[in-house]
């Protein structure tokens, strides 16, 4: 049995691939079709729909998945794309980073001739 973390990952991967909302049953079928290596390296054939529902509600709590409640059974979709989540992480890391060019420009403004030569040599452009 895959761990919850591995399942969350496999479910998110599927939801990111399917932009349209999808039921837990359909998700379970897709998960079962996946080769074990993709679905977290463990066997997911005997996955119960309740397990998929548990994973989905965990992901919903984390704000990663939203649920369409208008029809039954409920359909699930990812809140944003994979790329947007990655961008969110990178934004946290880089913050409102001044553009990278500016950093080197600032450095070059303060650099001495000797340092510039060394740097050019190191970068293989001397």
């Amino acid at each position: 049995m895959a761990t919850l973390g591995e399942l969350e990952r496999a479910v998110m991967d599927l939801l990111w691939e399917h932009p349209e909302a999808i039921t837990a049953n359909a998700l379970r079928d897709l998960l079962s079709q996946r080769p074990p290596a993709v679905a977290g390296g463990t066997d997911t054939k005997e996955l119960a729909v309740t397990t998929v529902l548990t994973v989905l509600s965990r992901l919903e709590k984390k704000g990663l998945v939203e649920r369409e409640r208008s029809i039954r059974p409920h359909r699930y979709r990812s809140v944003t794309s994979r790329a947007e989540h990655t961008a969110e992480l990178m934004l946290e890391v880089l913050g409102s980073a001044p553009d990278r060019e500016a950093v080197l420009a600032r450095f070059i403004g303060t650099v001495t001739d000797g340092e510039a030569t060394t740097l050019r040599k190191l970068l293989g452009r001397g």
């Binding site: 969110e88 990178m90 880089l94 913050g95 060019e101 450095f107």
Partner: protein, 316 residues
């Protein structure tokens, strides 16, 4: 007691303004980041201690000859056992201010921790879904993004180092190793705790320009410390190349950055410039005796207000 409070007040002012200003501009700090780091911590701690201590001691003047008897009498007044008639307005005011400042500092520090912790948890949750383990590098994951970036996410035994695809494509294996050693140094030297403390200090006293200076200096110093660790295993040229290629500096402790709320970035181009300049044009390390002097000075800085507050009470 009265003169002690004045002395502490003067010490607090000196430590809050001229001293950090001078230290932030000093050039020797790049030659011994470790001693400079210890000194910054001593300044912050001694500054807070003398700020609170000055008000506390002033407020207790009418209540006793030393801190302990003063506090005992204060407790009596607060419990209603003795009358507080001898406590005039200004003394009561100073006591309240001391209590408020102390609570404010502690509370802000805890709040900062909670904020960092929450942010890290969210970051880790997303990372678990978005990254894949780096082959052959335990505790390291790769995230697919073009911007070259490397950072570490502290969390005890669950600490991880994150590399981006962009970085892996940009750097040669040697340079990548330099970056990884640098990041590991941040984790093993627990730099996130320092960043937390100074971020907390800054959130608590944002109107104090020196709390920003301190945070910025400390940030630069931990980068230098990590660079020095990397220099044990890779040569200077490789490290310089890695830093220059990543341009704005490969190393960041991500979760602190949003805590910086003020909008000012902690990791400035100046930090990267300082790191590169110091590696390209290495100055000799600060002589041992001078390093020792700085460390002894730091200890004294902390010992003086502590002694002023406690020793008369112990002797009396």
């Amino acid at each position: 007691m009265f003169w002690t409070s004045w002395f502490l007040a003067i010490l607090a002012v000196i430590l809050a303004w001229p001293v950090p200003l001078v230290l932030a501009r000093a050039r020797w700090t790049a030659r011994s980041p470790f001693s400079a780091m210890v000194l910054w911590q001593a300044i912050a701690l001694a500054g807070g201690l003398s700020m609170i201590g000055a008000m506390l001691v002033f407020g207790l003047v009418p209540l006793g000859g030393n801190l302990i008897s003063g506090l005992k009498n204060l407790l009596g007044i607060m419990l209603g056992r003795t009358s507080g008639a001898q406590l005039e307005f200004w003394h009561a005011f100073a006591l309240s201010a001391a209590a408020l400042l102390f609570a404010h500092l502690v509370f802000t520090l805890l709040l900062t921790y909670a904020r960092i912790h929450k942010q890290r948890r969210r970051h880790r949750e997303l990372l678990e879904l978005l990254s894949s383990p780096a082959t052959g590098r335990p505790g390291t994951v790769v995230i697919s993004h073009d911007v070259p970036v490397a950072y570490c996410l502290p969390g005890g035994s669950r600490s991880i180092t994150v590399l981006s695809d962009g970085l892996m494509n940009l750097l040669e294996p040697d340079e990548l190793r330099a970056v990884l050693i640098h990041e590991n140094a941040h984790l093993s030297q627990r730099h996130h705790l320092l960043l937390w403390a100074f971020a907390g200090w800054r959130s608590a006293l944002p109107w104090l320009p020196t709390s920003r200076l301190a945070q910025r200096s400390v940030n630069a110093l931990i980068e230098m410390l990590a660079d020095d660790v990397a220099l044990h295993s890779v040569d200077r040229a490789t490290l310089v190349k890695a830093i220059a290629l990543v341009a704005s500096g490969p190393a960041r402790l991500a979760p602190i950055e949003l805590v910086d709320g003020g909008g000012d970035r902690i990791d400035t181009p100046e930090t990267t410039s300082a790191r590169l300049g110091r590696l390209l044009n290495p100055a000799p390390a600060l002589p041992r005796p001078v390093q020792t002097l700085v460390l002894v000075g730091s200890v004294l800085l902390l010992a003086v207000p502590t002694a002023l507050l406690t020793v008369p009470g112990l002797l009396g």
